[in-house]
């Protein structure tokens, strides 16, 4: 009963190096994010002030709630920024290392390209390109396997959504060729 059973082993073809230098600390990203949110709060606050943020006879106007929410958001961001800057002397953990960032970009850039491609080629062709490309170039899986998997996946999605469930997706020239 207690024999060491069969093991499942999956290897990572190109793992991120553990000694890679840090690109940013968590503190830097925290301050940058909070500053961006602060700017957003200012923008939204201004827009709601324009819409009307006062209190008339029937209660608050349309901009009342969002205006004060912007104020609270701005205050919380300022507090966060202040706290991080005051604690500057202490070391902050690494937000992302260079090797990690490269890996994240390996997914993010293809995803971005996929969104662009969806606009021109339709979702199904774009998804074929994404799956095949990602498997072959990032995952270093044999080309025929990648292309076959991508084709089967895209076709399954097409049949599931367009035909079985009637959920309409953006389509491009290829689908038009088949009369969809």
């Amino acid at each position: 009963m207690s024999k060491p059973e069969v093991e499942i082993v999956v290897e990572d073809p190109n793992p991120p190096a553990s000694d890679s230098p840090a690109v940013a600390t968590t503190r830097t990203v925290d301050v940058v994010t909070s500053s961006l949110l602060l700017a957003l709060a200012a923008l939204l606050g201004f827009d709601n002030w324009r819409t009307g943020m006062s209190w008339d006879s029937t209660g608050p106007q349309a901009g009342y709630f969002p205006f004060y929410l912007s104020v609270i958001l701005a205050a919380a961001c300022l507090y966060g920024i202040g706290r991080e800057l005051l604690a500057r002397r202490q070391a902050s953990p690494t937000f992302v290392t260079r090797a990690q960032l490269r890996r994240v970009m390996q997914v993010f850039v293809p995803t971005l390209l996929f969104c662009v491609a969806t606009q021109w080629l339709g979702l199904y062709v774009a998804s074929f390109l994404l799956v095949a490309g990602f498997m072959a170039f990032v995952g270093r899986i044999a080309a025929w396997k990648s292309v076959l998997t991508a084709f089967v996946f895209s076709l399954t999605m097409f049949v599931t959504f367009e035909i079985a469930f009637d959920v309409i997706m953006p389509k491009g020239p290829l689908e038009a060729l088949f009369g969809h």
């Binding site: 819409t51 958001l73 390996q106 993010f108 969104c115 998997t149 009637d166 959920v167």
Partner: protein, 507 residues
Amino acid sequence: MEAFGLLLYGFSVLLTWKTLALMMVGLVLGIFVGVLPGLGGPNGVAILLPLTFTMDPTSAIVMLSCIYWGALFGGAITSILFNIPGEAWSVATTFDGYPMAQQGKAAEALTAAFTSSFIGSLVAVLLITFLAPGIASFALRFGPPEFFAVYLLTFCSFVGLGREDKHKTIISMTLGLLLAGVGMDTVSGQLRMTFGSNELLRGINFLVAVIGLFGISEILLTMEERLALRGHAASISPRVVLKVWKELPRYWATLLRSSAIGCWLGITPGGAIAASFMGYNLAKRFSKDKDSFGKGRIEGVFAPETAAHASGTSALLPMLALGIPGSGTAAILLGGLMVWGLNPGPLLFVEHKGFVWGLIASMYLGNVVGLILVLTTVPVFAAVLRVPFSAIAPMIVVSCAIGAYAIQNAMFDIWLMLVFGVLGYAFKKIGIPLAPFTLALVLGNRAEDAFRLSMIGAGGDLRVFWSNGLVGSISTLALALLFWPLISAAAERMRSAIQPDAKVGIE
């Protein structure tokens, strides 16, 4: 025994071949989602939501909730066999589950995990069956001020009771409330925060945000790590199942305690993650043999799994009875209700009996079928992990895009999803919690409407929130929870002033 009759009615709604088939599909997809690293319950439900858009609401919710049960079951498989928690609430399961697997007792650990999950959710479903109708019929008397007070209570308890930095919870929540307000103001019909854009006129869709925040960002986070894994393969024999089940009565106190913790934290926005850790820690504290925890003790698997499942299930209680989700996943199911054209809240129990009782009946049936399914098919699902992540990742991206587009047939939403993906990645890494954002985004408009309707009713007088005992006590409780950290600190100081030798900083 009115609830019992209604439950039977629920089963009659459920027992059609189509619904049962959808239930199985949901469970299998859910376990799949739970097993895969980088995908969890909320992500799975959010990504698969578009499949249900053209279904009738009852079939849709049965399938979605089964995805959720499946994900809860599936999380345990990777925790025990690979020491990789597929879900945050499975982390506590790895403490004793993985050592058991190393000692060659993987089958026992898995059986224990599945069985205790089943018990936890059964307790929670019983609670829902007998408590939810009562709460809903009580809430039927609620007017806008009462509803606003309840929403306020939900928001305040997140700030007051959350474990994250307070200002980060506030950032997350106000951002969610602000984005909920984008578009047409429902009371006055005015446009706000649209900056003249036609795309923003529709507002920022909750589900698009969720798919980005939970789906895309999770892919980015997973890619950061080394994706190699090594673990045990296991199959469960009936003999092992019976052996574990025979031991079960000995741990009745642990099971009961964990169920109670889970139900409580599920109804209040504490969540399954907190419940699983609390269940584990309390089991350890009450145990006579504390040192054996963490070294492969079966009780250390029972305790967190029961609590996590009880919490995950009971989070649906406030969603059904009041229209207020108790967890991120419940919030997504609530978003689903709106897509299917149902209005969440106490009226559901009156206007859509078939839907509500069908859902409750499916919780019973889904958990029984789910238990049998996982006990028999563990090797198949463990093998899913052999599929390389570089094949899974792009497929998840495509599913996310399909989901985001399908909600409003808008290409803009795919871009919005991408933005939320990056935002979610950054938020998770700098410690801004996503649950308050999710909740605020789904409840924001309803809370604001409730406030403004009460103001119109009361002629702009804020005292309406203390106008009767009920609304007054909810409002007061909300404010007390908001300032809870200050109140408890003050109480602590007073106690140490009375007893100067008492320890102040109790861990």
